[in-house]
């Protein structure tokens, strides 16, 4: 049996009350194995971001259990969740999650400063090279293109060598060539470093690079069968 990196059991999430009530997720089950890159697609408003943030412990589900590795995080308080995110989860946002007043190199230094566990971070140079951004070390985010920013953000997420990477439309601001590269890189990370990676995307052309695709519609999860096999 494959080891699970992340699993969600029977997750529901309801926002609001009465006539403004929105059921974003309805009794959803999901898991991703170590070494697997899973794509999540679905129309806008179908609950993809809600799903991803619950998986990252950024919000609590209305019902159901979330487990990272073999540990349930249902009882974690916000401090424990922050620690968990810092150590085990890399989260890549749709818009880049960089600190505007830190150079690319300092974005990495910050991670080292916050980290008190002295866990040796994956070598910085390797990641920078793999993403083709080693030239950008002294630049501030304002000097980077959207694609460069996104690659730096991904590099930051990888830097801490997390068990799980959750990416919410990481390729939205990239041209298609860069988008392919990023997805290939995520796939390599999953396979070579045995990480569980979940990527929300709109772009069906990227699915071919993923191990598996699931589709969310109206808060429910279904396996996705592509219309055509070619990419």
């Amino acid at each position: 049996m494959v080891e699970r990196a992340l699993s969600l059991k029977n997750i529901s999430k309801t926002f609001g009350k009465g006539h403004t009530k929105v059921e974003a997720l309805k009794k959803m089950d999901f898991s991703v194995a170590k070494g697997e890159l899973v794509a999540v697609i679905g129309p806008s408003g179908s609950g993809k971001s809600t799903f991803l943030t619950i998986a990252a412990g950024l919000q609590k589900p209305s019902t159901g259990q979330v487990s990272i590795g073999s540990k349930s995080i249902d009882a974690y308080n916000s401090k424990e969740l922050a620690k968990l995110r810092f150590q085990k989860i890399g989260f890549v946002l749709q818009s880049s999650n960089l600190v505007p007043f830190l150079t690319v190199a300092d974005q990495f230094t910050l991670i080292e400063k916050v980290d008190k566990s002295k866990k040796k971070p994956a070598a910085r140079e390797d990641i920078l090279q793999a993403l083709g951004i080693e030239e950008l070390k002294q630049q501030y985010p304002r000097d980077l293109s959207g694609g460069e920013k996104q690659r730096v953000a991904i590099a930051c997420a990888l830097y801490h060598d997390p068990d799980i990477i959750l990416a919410d439309e990481p390729t939205a601001s990239l041209d298609s060539e860069r988008a392919f590269e990023v997805v290939k890189l995520l796939g390599r990370e999953a396979r070579n470093k045995n990480k569980g990676i979940v990527m929300v995307t709109h772009d069906e052309r990227l699915l071919a690079y993923c191990d598996r695709t699931v589709k969310i519609r109206d808060g429910k999860l279904a396996d996705f069968i592509p219309d055509s096999a070619e990419v």
Binding site: T53, L58, L93, N97, L102, I111, Y140
Partner: protein, 359 residues
């Protein structure tokens, strides 16, 4: 500190502005404190130099030496280690050859040259004959020289400066010492009724609470009470001290608001960092340390500014640097600025990382 310093390097303008505001407030506080100290000293320096423990004045004088009149024979009834009679008159003087427009205000004390009130003569000699005086060398700044004959108020005889002693002021004007007889002649003329009168007594070596009043028309004041009741002394100190503490409170408020606004502007950054798992405590520490650093830099710059200003202050301004009080104010300023930033910690704690994701 890493976040704070890098942010300050990146947004130099806005942080320089805060440092500048801190520096200006520090500057104002230090200059005010120097003036407060200078004024206070100008009021009391002569009294401090007596190293006395108390004074005896007439009751109706309301603790005011100038208004007090006592019989000088009461001296023997004051049971203290050393007792000295003192006469005092405030008047304006001018060199004999100068016009009346060019006058200098002074405080003239009449003392026994063998008493402990007698200052050390640093040039010339002590007063011996009638109408001989010794003056604080501060009067040199006004052009007075040894041997000068001077007109004193409406006194019909010229006084002669025969010696100098160190800087000394009373009620912010320069001090002149002369014999009791000379002061009496200036104050009372040849009035037979006033022959035995004098302003009061200063004593030393015995605590004021051990000294009994020689009769019911007199009061014994400790030297500190006497200083507190010097005309205008308390009002001046209170005013300046109040201004200083208000300034400190205002600066804490300004810095607090600055930091608060900057924190609000950074909520999305804090959100992003929280998504990455950076704990609130780390972010809060960054903001507090940053404020502390800003405050320290501002205070240092303000101190530098004060140093430069003092070099250019006119001599007529009674400025005296008070290192003890000054450092205390700087310390309070930094602490208050840091307290001001604590406002913002709640805001940081309340930042929801979900907002960084933005749907």
């Amino acid at each position: 500190m890493f976040l704070g310093i890098n942010e300050m390097k990146y947004s130099k303008g806005r942080y320089l502005l805060i440092i500048l505001v801190m520096a200006l407030i520090t500057w104002l506080i230090l200059v005010l404190s120097g003036l407060a100290t200078g004024l206070a000293q100008g009021n009391r320096l002569a009294v401090d130099q007596w190293k006395a423990s108390g004074v005896v004045l007439s009751k109706e004088a309301n603790s005011n030496l100038n208004a007090s009149t006592l019989n000088q024979n009461l001296a023997s009834k004051i049971k203290a280690d050393q007792v000295a009679t003192i006469g005092q008159v405030s008047l304006s003087i001018s060199k004999e050859d100068k016009t009346d427009n060019d006058r200098t205000n002074v405080s003239l004390f009449g003392i026994d040259s063998s008493s402990f009130l007698m200052p050390k003569v640093i040039a010339g000699k002590s007063f011996a004959k009638k109408n001989e005086v010794i003056a604080t060398e501060k009067l040199k700044e006004d052009g007075f020289k040894l041997g000068d004959k001077i007109n004193a108020g409406t006194y019909d005889q010229p006084l002669t400066i025969v010696g100098w002693f160190a800087q000394s002021t009373y009620n912010i004007v320069p001090v002149i010492y002369t014999s009791t007889a000379t002061v009496k002649a200036i104050k009372y003329g040849s009035s037979e009724a006033q022959r035995d009168n004098i302003n009061g007594f200063v004593f030393k070596g015995t605590a004021s609470n051990q000294v009994k009043t020689p009769n019911e028309d007199t009061v014994v004041l400790s030297i500190n009470d006497f200083i507190e009741k010097l005309p205008g002394y308390q009002a001046q100190n209170l005013t300046l001290d109040t201004m200083i503490y208000f300034l400190i409170a205002i600066s804490a408020f300004i810095v607090g608001i600055f930091i608060f606004v900057l924190t609000l502007q950074k909520t999305s950054i804090f959100g992003v960092l929280k998504v990455q798992g950076v704990p609130t405590s780390y972010l809060a520490k960054a903001v507090i340390l940053q404020t502390g650093l800003l405050a320290v830099l501002g205070v240092l710059l303000g101190t530098l500014l004060t140093g430069l200003t003092v070099a250019f202050l006119p001599d007529s301004m009674p400025y005296t640097t008070d290192y003890g009080n000054g450092s205390l104010y700087l310390f309070i300023l930094v602490i208050m600025a840091i307290l001001g930033s604590i406002f913002s910690i709640r805001t940081i704690a309340k930042v929801d990382p979900l907002t960084a994701i933005g749907g």
